[in-house]
Symmetry: C2
């Protein structure tokens, strides 16, 4: 091909508030001819898309969005593929690198630049207090691309390792039981009074925060949906002043002076 | 006490480039009378501290910094405690909530607002490609506050759960062997050719990137220090075009069309 290839920015726009759009993300959007993204995310940045070609698609069309961006880059354009949170954490980096791999991308042309953003898990943690202060893991309960048995084994491992756990995609209309199964698995490894925080739409209009325990999570499942993050403390996590707090380490006693 | 208490912003300034300082973080700094932080981080935001009281301390003085911020908030001032990356991920949120707990903080006064930022792990992942696209965990190899046996058990669990692993504080002058032990543990669970990315000072002057395998990590330990992030792929992670890529899920075949 003699056409000079363009560039793809993989842009994380953060939790969805303009206060969390980094200068790097704004600059990437402004440098792009084409903006590709899920409709709702495009709406969140609509002030920044004026005069640009906008490719807005629905949920589930991730590979189609990635292909549109890659096509446009091979045609010499500069494009931004927009993800909520961080493009690299359950975001659009995956589909774009998948399409590039399938097309035998040479690693250089088009140029790929990732602009990370604040992920939903971090926004949820910030609202809850300080739950992620020790080793933690992120687990998506969606079994669309990962078999449920694999996810179960990760929950089991997270329990054994006493990791703080942040659950993405905890529950949907189609998937009602996974969150309760996750609770059962973790209850084998940590106490029933382990603090649990449930956050929906962190830093956005309609933000919802609920603090409960692993034991009582059962009664709160109705407040959990696809865009909620559920953060489950480890064996040292405690509640104080309404906040979910994981101390810095095991050797640090809570009331030690 | 009749004095009205002030406020503490727990501010993550991101990886250290002004391009990743969020508007929320800039606003929090600008709204603060007092800025408290590790000397090197204060230097990274020096354009934003003019005319403010600056409390700059050394590494290891985390509880002292937290106490200074809490003192100043109980005295009615508004202060920002600055962390590199995200305040809530191995950052200053921990020490501040520890001091607040010790002082029987009522959860309201002083007001605490956390401003999350892009963490070092996310910056490293962005530079490497797309390694965090499936469930992952963050593990600090520092045994200052967590016993090494606990850290070992987490590495073991991360291996069993086939998590992508991001290692913080992987090696220091005092700790030379932990990274190699981590490698040994993970090698029991994933192949020797598993991609590994080593990133120092992501998005900063002097950024260093090395891509190797779990097998060959042994030969690269000299390039790893306290401020390096080591990202170890899971069993599906592959290299393409020099990038470390974890596909979105187990059911997604790399070359499937």
């Amino acid at each position: 091909m003699t056409t000079k290839s363009g560039k793809i920015y993989l842009v994380g726009i953060g939790p969805g508030s303009p206060q969390y759009l980094t200068p790097a993300a704004s600059d990437a959007l402004s440098a792009s001819d084409v903006i590709v993204g899920f409709r709702a995310y495009i709406e969140q940045i609509e002030g920044l898309t004026a005069g640009k070609e906008v490719v807005s698609m629905e949920l589930g069309q991730e590979l189609e969005r990635a292909a549109a961006a890659v096509d446009s880059a091979y045609a010499g354009k500069t494009g931004a593929v927009v993800s909520s949170g961080d493009a690299g954490i359950y975001g659009m980096s995956g589909p774009v690198f998948r399409v590039l791999t399938d097309r035998n991308w040479d690693g250089e042309s088009p140029e790929i630049e990732t602009v990370p953003g604040v992920s939903a898990m971090q926004a949820a943690a910030a609202v809850l207090g300080s739950p992620l202060m020790q080793d933690f893991c992120a687990i998506s309960l969606s079994d669309l691309l990962t078999p449920w048995e694999k996810i179960r084994s990760r929950l089991e491992a997270a329990g054994q390792g006493d990791f703080v756990v942040a659950l993405y995609n905890p529950r949907s209309r189609r998937r009602q039981t996974q969150l309760l199964e996750a609770r059962e698995i973790l209850l084998k490894h940590r106490p029933g009074d382990t603090p649990v925080g449930i956050v929906g739409d962190a830093f956005r209009p309609g933000q919802r925060v609920k603090v409960t325990t692993l034991q009582d999570l059962e009664q709160e499942v109705e407040s959990v949906d696809m865009v909620t993050i559920v953060v489950i403390g480890n064996s040292t996590t405690y509640l104080h002043g309404g906040k979910v707090i994981t101390p810095r380490g095991y050797e640090e006693k809570r009331k030690e002076t």
